[in-house]
C-alpha cells in the first residue's frame, strides 16, 4: 500500500464545466406555461404553481399570507377535512407558501398518484371558498403564533430591520401588528383570491422523473381555466424614499442574549454588481469559514452563529448581518462587525482566502443543480425575475474571475458603515 503523507492535501480537482439540466416549456391552450425538468431516479414529482400573489400586491396586512394558508380549508365541493385526508391518503405533501413577491403551492407526490392529487390542487387554486368558521380558527391560531414569535429577540430584530430600511408603509417593510388580526376578514381573502389566483400570472414548474404524456394531464386540469388579468396594486418600482440609516435599540426584559441586525437596502438580481456582491458577502459572512464566523465565534466565542446575507426581492434587495450574542458581549460584537467591514473596504482579500471562497461557491453551484428539488428551486429563482440560464453562467464567470481589487471596490461602493442601519433587540 502507498504510504500516505497526511500533512499534504490530496490532489484537488475543479470541475471545468458545470452542467445543468434545462427546462422544456409547453404552453397550455389558455396560455399557462408549464416548465418540465426531467431529473432523478425515483418515480416522484414536484409540482409548483407560482403566482404574483405575495404581500407586494395585498390590499391590507395579512391578506396574502392568509389567503395562501387557507387555500386548502374548503372549496365549493370539498371540505377542509376531505382535502387534507386525500393528500395524506396518497402520501403526498402540499406546501403552501406566500412571501413578499409571490405565492403558490408546491405538491410533492409519487408519480403513480399524480392524477388523484393534481385534481385537488387545481380545485383549491380555482375554487377555494374561505369558510367563516375555518377562517376564525385560523386567525386565532395565527394570532397566538404571532404573540409567541414576538417574544423572540430574533423576530424583533428582523422585523425592526425591514421596517426601518423600507418603512412601515412599504409592503417589504410593513410590520404585522396585533390589531391586524382583528381587521382582516374572510371576504377580503375571497376577493384577493379571485383577483390574484385566477390570474394569468400563473406559472407551473414540474420536476422529477417526467412521465410520457404529462402535458395532457396538465391540459386537462389547468388548460380550460378562464384567466383574469391581474392588476397589481403598486405597479411602479419601489418608492424612492431612502430610509435614513439609523441605530435602533428595541429593549426586551429578561433576556440572556440580544439579537443584532446590521445592513441596508440594496439592489436585486438585475443589477450588474449582483454576483460580485454575493462573492463579497460570502467572504464576510456567507459560509462557515467566513470572517465574521472566524472572528466572532471561533476566536471570541461571543455567539453560536453569525452570518450575512444578500437577499434579492422583485423590486429591491437588501444586505444584512445577523447574530444572537450574549448580552454582556453585545457591544463588543457590534464593534467587531464594523471592524470586519472596515477591513474589507481597506485591504485586499488574500489570494489564498479568495481561492477558497471561489471553490466553495463553485461547489455550492453544483449543489444548486443536484437532484430534482434543487433544480426546481434554482429554476424558479430565475423564472420569477424573468431571467434565463445566462444568469447562472454569469454567476460562475464572476466567481471564477472577480479580482480582489474589484471586491475591495465593491465594499467601498456598497458597504459604507455610515449607510448601515443597526438594530439591537434585547439588552444593550
Amino acid at each position: 500500500m502507498d504510504p500516505v503523507d497526511r500533512k499534504k492535501i490530496p490532489p484537488l480537482h475543479l470541475s471545468e464545466r458545470i452542467d445543468y439540466i434545462r427546462d422544456k416549456k409547453v404552453t397550455l391552450s389558455n396560455g399557462i406555461p408549464v416548465y418540465l425538468i426531467n431529473a432523478g431516479n425515483q418515480d416522484i414529482l414536484r409540482i409548483e404553481l407560482l403566482l404574483s400573489a405575495g404581500s407586494w400586491v395585498e390590499p391590507g396586512p395579512l391578506i396574502a399570507s392568509s389567503t395562501n394558508d387557507m387555500l386548502n380549508e374548503g372549496t365549493k365541493t370539498r371540505t377542509a377535512e376531505m382535502i387534507a385526508e386525500s393528500f395524506d391518503y396518497y402520501g403526498s405533501y402540499l406546501h403552501l407558501n406566500a412571501n413578499k413577491d409571490t405565492a403558490g403551492v408546491v405538491l410533492f407526490t409519487l408519480s403513480k398518484y399524480l392524477e388523484e392529487t393534481l385534481v385537488i390542487v387545481a380545485d383549491i387554486i380555482q375554487n377555494s371558498t374561505f369558510p367563516e368558521r375555518e377562517f376564525a380558527t385560523y386567525i386565532q391560531k395565527k394570532k397566538q403564533q404571532f404573540v409567541e414569535e414576538r417574544e423572540k429577540v430574533r423576530y424583533l430584530a428582523r422585523t425592526g430591520f425591514l421596517r426601518s430600511i423600507f418603512g412601515q408603509l412599504h409592503p417589504y417593510g410593513r410590520e404585522i401588528l396585533l390589531e391586524d388580526f382583528t381587521t382582516v376578514t374572510a371576504k377580503q381573502l375571497s376577493e384577493f383570491h379571485c383577483k390574484c389566483y385566477l390570474s394569468d400570472s400563473i406559472k407551473i414548474i414540474v420536476t422529477g422523473k417526467i412521465p410520457k404524456g404529462i402535458e395532457t394531464v396538465f391540459e386537462k386540469h389547468f388548460g380550460d381555466w378562464d384567466l383574469e388579468t391581474i392588476e397589481t396594486r403598486v405597479p411602479e418600482p419601489i418608492p424612492v424614499v431612502p430610509a435614513d440609516p439609523s441605530n435602533i435599540f428595541l429593549e426586551k426584559e429578561n433576556v440572556v442574549q440580544s439579537a443584532i441586525r446590521i445592513g441596508k437596502k440594496l439592489f436585486n438580481k438585475h443589477h450588474p454588481d449582483y454576483h460580485g456582491v454575493q462573492v463579497l458577502n460570502t467572504v464576510l459572512g456567507g459560509y462557515f469559514g467566513s470572517r465574521l464566523m472566524r472572528n466572532i465565534r471561533e476566536e471570541k466565542g461571543y455567539t453560536y452563529g453569525i452570518g450575512s446575507a444578500f437577499i434579492s426581492l422583485h423590486h429591491a434587495g437588501f444586505f444584512t448581518i445577523a447574530s444572537e450574542v450574549g448580552t454582556n458581549v453585545c457591544r463588543s460584537a457590534v464593534k467587531e462587525i464594523y471592524k470586519e467591514i472596515k477591513i474589507l473596504r481597506e485591504q485586499i482579500i488574500p489570494e489564498e482566502e479568495l481561492s477558497m471562497v471561489r471553490n466553495y461557491l463553485l461547489g455550492q453551484v453544483i449543489r444548486m443543480f443536484d437532484g430534482p428539488f434543487a433544480l426546481a428551486e434554482s429554476f424558479r429563482a430565475i423564472l420569477e425575475y424573468g431571467l434565463d440560464y445566462s444568469h447562472y453562467d454569469n454567476a460562475i464567470r464572476t466567481i471564477r474571475n472577480i479580482s480582489a481589487k474589484d471586491l475591495r471596490d465593491l465594499a467601498n461602493r456598497y458597504l459604507g458603515p455610515e449607510s448601515m442601519t443597526e438594530i439591537v433587540a434585547g439588552k444593550y
Binding site: 497526511r6 500533512k7 385526508e85 395524506d88 402520501g91 433576556v255 462557515f288 455567539t303 477558497m356 466553495y360
Partner: protein
C-alpha cells in the same frame, strides 16, 4: 431499495458504500457510537462539546474547514443522546480529500486549552440561544429528569446544567477522545457517484493505518418501570399555557417500535390526523398539538405536546387529549385510516432516497442498530402493523401510571 456493499477493515472500522450515479456529489458520513447517554452524570453535555472540538484541527491538519471549502465541500455534525454523527458532501472528484480529513481527526486531535475555552463559550451561547432565550425553550430540561430517574436519558444533549460545560478540562477531553473515538467504534458510509473498489482503496489507504482502541463496554442502568403517574407544574414568561405528556415506550430495535410510530402518526401526522382535526380544528382547544417519539435506541419516550388556546382551561384541554388516547386504545382503527398512514410512510421513504446524504446517514444508523440492510425492510415492518396490534400496544403504553405530565403555565400579571 438501497443497494450497498459492506467492508470491515482490520482495525474494526465498518465501511459501507452505496453508488448513485445520478449526482455529481459524494457524501461521507461517519457515525461514532457515542452520545450523551455515555456521559458521567456530573459531566453532562460533554459528547456535544466534544463534537465542536472535532472541527478545531487534527494532528496533521491544523484547519478542518479550510481545505474542505477549498475542495467545494460542505459539512456539519450533530450529537444526540445515542450517537455523534459527522457528515460532508463534496464534488465527487474530490472524495479523497474527505477521507484525508476524516481519517486525520480519527487519528488524533490538536488539543489546546485555548480552543477548548473558546468552544466552551460557544456552547454556552448555544445553550442560551436554544434553551434559555426562547419561549418554551427549557421544556426538555424539565421533561427528561421527570421521566427518567436512573437511565442517562435523564439529561439532554446540551447538558444538565450550563456549569457542566464550564467545568470541562483538557484532561477530560483527551480521555474522552481515546476512549470513544476509534475505528472500532465508528461506521463510515460513502454514498454518491463513486464506485465500490475506489472507496475500498481510499478507505484502506487512509483509515487502515489507524490502530483500534480500547472502548469501555457500555453498561447503562436500565430505567425501572414507572409505577405511578408523575406531574410537574411550572410558571414561565410565555404568552400561553402548554401541556406535555410523555410515556415510556420500547427501544428502537423492539418489534413493537413500528406500531408505536404508527400510533403517533394516526394521532398527529398531517392535517387529516385525529388530534389536528378534533382538537385544533373542530374543538379549538389547541393552537398546535403534536404526538411523536424520541426514537432513541434504548427505551425512549412517546410525547404528546400542545399549546393551549387562550381562555381554554388546561384541565379541559387535557381531558380531551385523554379522550383521544382512550379512543385509540379501545376502538379499532379503520382500514382506510391505517392505509393512509402506511402510504405516508412509503412515500416518506421514497422521498428520502432522493438525497445521497440522507441515504448515507440512514445506512449508518441502521448499521449501528445491527444491520444496514434493515433500511430496506422498514416498509415491510410498517405493513405488518394491524388494528389489533395498535389497540393492544396503545392499551399498554398510554396509561396514567406510565405517564409524566408537565403543566407549563403562562405567568399572569
Amino acid at each position: 431499495m438501497i443497494n450497498f456493499e459492506k467492508i470491515i477493515l482490520g482495525n474494526g472500522l465498518k465501511v459501507i458504500v452505496h453508488t448513485d450515479k445520478s449526482t455529481p456529489l459524494a457524501a461521507l458520513n461517519i457515525l461514532y457510537n457515542v452520545g450523551a447517554r455515555d456521559e458521567h452524570p456530573d459531566k453532562t453535555g460533554f459528547a456535544h462539546l466534544f463534537e465542536h472540538l472535532m472541527f478545531e484541527g487534527s494532528v496533521n491538519i491544523p484547519d478542518y474547514d479550510g481545505p474542505l471549502q477549498k475542495a467545494g465541500g460542505e459539512n456539519n455534525a450533530f450529537t444526540n443522546n445515542d450517537i455523534t454523527n459527522y457528515y460532508l458532501t463534496l464534488p465527487r472528484e474530490n472524495t479523497e480529500i474527505g477521507f484525508w480529513l476524516e481519517s486525520d481527526r480519527m487519528l488524533g486531535l490538536d488539543f489546546s486549552e485555548q480552543k477548548l475555552n473558546v468552544q466552551k463559550q460557544v456552547v454556552a451561547e448555544e445553550y442560551r440561544q436554544r434553551y434559555l432565550n426562547q419561549p418554551y425553550g427549557d421544556v426538555w430540561l424539565l421533561l427528561r429528569p421527570l421521566a427518567y430517574k436512573v437511565h442517562p436519558y435523564q439529561w439532554p444533549t446540551i447538558g444538565r446544567d450550563i456549569s457542566h460545560i464550564d467545568q470541562a478540562n483538557l484532561n477530560d477531553v483527551k480521555n474522552f477522545f481515546f476512549s470513544q473515538y476509534a475505528p472500532n467504534n465508528a461506521i463510515l458510509v460513502v454514498a454518491g457517484n463513486i464506485e465500490i473498489p475506489e472507496v475500498e482503496k481510499l478507505a484502506r489507504r487512509w483509515f487502515s493505518p489507524i490502530r483500534e482502541r480500547d472502548i469501555p463496554r457500555r453498561t447503562l442502568p436500565p430505567e425501572p418501570k414507572q409505577r405511578s403517574e408523575r406531574k410537574q407544574e411550572v410558571e414561565r414568561n410565555v404568552p400561553f399555557d402548554a401541556i406535555y405528556k410523555v410515556f415510556h415506550m420500547c427501544g428502537r430495535n423492539d418489534p413493537d417500535f413500528h406500531t408505536v410510530d404508527v400510533i403517533s402518526d394516526i394521532l398527529s401526522n398531517g392535517k387529516s390526523s385525529r388530534l389536528y382535526q378534533n382538537l385544533v380544528q373542530s374543538k379549538r382547544l389547541f393552537s398546535e398539538v403534536d404526538a411523536y417519539l424520541t426514537g432513541e435506541i434504548d427505551p425512549g419516550l412517546f410525547i404528546l405536546s400542545g399549546k393551549i388556546i387562550q381562555g381554554v382551561k388546561m384541565e379541559d384541554a387535557e381531558q380531551e387529549l385523554m379522550a383521544e388516547l382512550h379512543k385509540i386504545k379501545t376502538v379499532p382503527v379503520r382500514k382506510r385510516e391505517l392505509d393512509k398512514i402506511k402510504n405516508k410512510v412509503e412515500s416518506r421513504l421514497v422521498f428520502e432516497e432522493t438525497n445521497v446524504l440522507n441515504k448515507a446517514m440512514n445506512l449508518a444508523f441502521h448499521e449501528l442498530l445491527g444491520d444496514a440492510n434493515e433500511i430496506n425492510n422498514e416498509i415491510e415492518k410498517y405493513h405488518a402493523v394491524t388494528p389489533g396490534k395498535i389497540r393492544k400496544i396503545a392499551a399498554g403504553l398510554l396509561v396514567p401510571s406510565n405517564c409524566s405530565t408537565l403543566y407549563y403555565r403562562a405567568r399572569t400579571g
